[in-house]
Amino acid sequence: MEKLESETLMLNVGPHHPSTHGVLRVIVELDGERVVDLKPDLGFLHRGVEKLAEYKTYHQFIPVTDRLDYMAASYNNFAYCLAVEKLLGLEVPLRAQYIRVIIGELSRIFSHLFWLGTHAHDLGAMTPIFYALREREEIMNLFEMCCGGRLTQTYFRIGGVAADIPEGFVEKVKAFTNHFPQRVDEYEALLTENPIWMERAVGVGVLSKEDAIALGASGPMARGSGLALDVRKDNPYSSYDHFDFEVPVFEGGDVYSRYLVRMEEMRQSTKIIDQAIDNLPPGPYLAEAPRYVPPPKERTLGEIEALIHHFILYQEGLKPPVGEVYACVESPRGEMGYYIISDGSPRPYRLKIRPPAFVNLESLATMTRGRLLADLIAILSSVDIVLAEIDR
C-alpha cells in the first residue's frame, strides 16, 4: 500500500485577478492555508520603454513617462525632467519649481486616494472607495483645468512646465486643501480603529527595518518599517527645502503601519500645497535657454532667431553635453529615478528607470512567508504596485 504523505500545493494567483491591480501572476506554494513560498511572475505589461527611449528625442519621451505610472503620472514627468535638466545643467525658474511641487503633491494625494480605496476594498471594506474616488475626482478636475489631461497630464517640460497655471486655479486648489484634511479624518474614522480592519492589518506582512534596507524598499514601504527615508528631505529637489512638512514614520513594519504612513502623508501633502500656493513667486514658468527650451509660439511668428530655434529643437531635438546623470525623486511609491547616459546626440544613449514599485514588490515573499493566503492579498495591496511601472 502507498504511504500517505502531506505535500504542498502550488496555486496560481493571477495574472487576471482583481487583487493584483493589473496583470501580475504570483505562484504560491501552500501548505494548507499557509504560504510556504511565493514567486511573482512579471512582465505581462512589458513594452520595452527603455529601448523605446533610445529612439525618441528627449522632448518626445515626456509623454511616455506618463504611461509608466498612471496613478501619479506627473511624478514621472518630474523625475524625468529633473534628470534631463541635470544633464543639461539647466536652471528651472522658481515659479515653475513651485508649480511642479503643487502638481506633484496633488498627484501624491491622487495616488494615495486610489490606493486607499482599493486597499480597503481588498480587505473587505466596501465603503471607503466611494469617498476616496469623490475626492480623487476633485483632483482630476484640477488637473484638467491646469494641464488638460485628467489621468496622464504631460504638463512638465524640460526647463519648466507647459503653460502657466490658469486664472482661478489658485482659488480652486485652496478650496480643495481647505476641506481635504477633514475628509482624511473621515476616512480614518471609518478605518483606523475599526476592529475588523485592525484584525486584517496589524502585525500582518511585517518587514523589518534591516530587511527594508537590504531589499531596497523605499517610500511608504520603508517609512512603515521605521526607516526615515524621503528624497524630498534627504536630497531636496525643486525647492522642497522651502516648505515645512514632516515625514511620517511608523515602526510596525506591517500593513497597518503602511496605511498610517499614507494617511498622514496626504495631510502633509496638503500642507505643502498650501505653502506653495500662498508663496507662489511671480516670474516665468519656463526657463529661457534657446539651445534647449523651445521659445514661446508668439515669438516664433515675429523673430527669425526664435523661428530657427523652434525648427532645430523640433526637427533635430536638443543636443545635451556628453555625460551621465542619475536624478531621483520621492514618488508616491518611493525612490523613482532616471539614469541617463548621453553621447551628445539628440537621443539618450541609454535610459534606465528606477521603478520604486518594482523594487518594493521584491519584498513580497519575505513579508508573506508563513502567513495565510488571505494575508497575501492584504500584503500585496499594501505595497501599492503599479504594473505599468514594474514591467515598463
Binding site: L42, G43, H46, G48, E50, K51, L52, E54, Y55, K86, L87, G89, I213, A214, L215, G216, L227, L229, D234, N235, G323, E324, V325, Y326, C328, E335, G337, Y339, I341, Y349, R350, K352, R354, F358, V359, E362, D391, R392
Partner: protein, 157 residues
Amino acid sequence: MGEEHIAVRKVQEALPDAIQSIGTFRDETWIVVARDRLLDVCKFLKEDPELAFDFLSFVCGVDYYPSQPRFEVVYQLYSTKHHHRFRVKTKVPEDDPKVPSVVTIWPTADWHERETYDLFGIEFQGHPDLRRILLPADWVGHPLRKDYPLRGPERSS
C-alpha cells in the same frame, strides 16, 4: 577629477589596485573597477562606517557596441545613514559576458540582476535564481543590446 570624493579616496587607500578609472559629471562621481575586484570594492563600500552604502538603488547594463569591452554593468549606491550617492561600474567583454553577483551584499540586487540578464544577456555568477524576469522564458535575444532591432519579428533568432 573626482579624487576628492570621500568614497574614491577611501577605496584608493584600501584597495589601491581596484580602480581602473574615475569619472565625474554634474557633482556625481563614479569609479570603474576591474571585474575580479568588484565584490571586494562593493563589500568595502557597504561596510566602511564612513561610507556605509547599504542601499542599492539599481543595477543596470549598458551596451557600447561596437566598442570593446562591449558591456558595462552599473551599480547605483545610496547610504541611508549619510544620505550620499555613489556609482560603481565594471566593464564586461562580449566574448565572456559574466559578472560576479552582488546578491550576497545587497539582496535587492536579485531582481535587478535578473533584469540585466534578461535584457542584456549578461550572466551574474553566483546568483541564486538567474532567469528572465520581464520577457517570457522562451524569448530569443536580449532587447536592450544595440544590435537588437527596435521593431521586427516577434522573435528574431
